[in-house]
């Protein structure tokens, strides 16, 4: 069981958690969530806004593939991914991942796996606007190496 959404509008952690919990029917012992936020400072300086571009259809499919990989690797009851696109400001929520499982080891590993792969394999392009200029950013080497570690 999983759901993947790519949307401009903000998400409510509570609404998603309530919906997820109803689907679990007493089988889950562990729910691990990740919320990604826009930081007011990045590695390159102050951030006044972040623009996320996607490719409708292909982006959703790229996230689905990541979720399915996680479901094949761990015993999971539910996976929810909501990723925002468009213009975001510091402190805004960017991404929500919820992973429910019977036991916490599976839920922690799968949630971290989904996030690591989202950072390298999900079809998004990011443009950061700082104090003066806007720059299209690239995957960090750290992200690439974290993602590779899961393949070893």
């Amino acid at each position: 069981m999983h759901s993947v959404l790519v949307q401009e509008k903000d998400f409510s952690v509570q609404d998603e958690w309530i919906a997820c919990r109803e689907r679990l029917e007493g089988k889950a012992g562990a729910v691990v969530s990740f919320i990604g936020l826009v930081r007011e400072r990045s590695d390159t300086g102050n951030v006044s806004s972040l623009y996320l571009e996607h490719y409708p259809g292909m982006t959703e499919a790229s996230i689905e593939r990541i979720v399915v990989k996680a479901q094949q690797r761990w015993s999971l009851l539910d996976v929810v991914v909501i990723h925002r696109i468009g213009e975001l400001q510091p402190e805004d929520q960017i991404v929500l991942v919820i992973v429910a499982s019977a036991h916490r080891a599976d839920a922690f590993a799968a949630c971290e796996f989904v996030m690591d792969l989202l950072k390298t394999e999900a079809v998004f392009w990011k443009k950061e606007t700082g104090d003066e200029e806007s720059v299209w950013i690239e995957s960090t080497l750290d992200d690439v190496s974290r993602s590779r570690e899961w393949q070893e």
């Binding site: 990604g36 996320l52 571009e53 490719y55 259809g57 292909m58 499919a61 996230i63 990723h83 960017i94 991404v95 989202l118 950072k119 390298t120 394999e121 999900a122 079809v123 998004f124 392009w125 990011k126 443009k127 299209w136 950013i137 690239e138 995957s139 992200d143």
Partner: protein
Amino acid sequence: MTASSMTVQVKFFASLRETLGTSQISLTVPFESTVDMLLEKIQETYGRDNPLIDIRNVRVAVNQQIVEFDEAIRQDDEIAIFPPITGG
């Protein structure tokens, strides 16, 4: 468009979209063209020296699947050209 050519829609994303000033164009290419030939045509149209259309820096998806540049293109294919993805 003659009998030996076809018109394809090409989408651009991110920095490429900004540089070219458009998110989608129609291009007429010969039947049995490959991605390579399409990129050649785009370079001719937008200026061969534009670094952002450097084929070493672009990725191409045909029908939302990343493909190699020797992939053949067919009528009605959805073609997209973009810089490397940066992830979520």
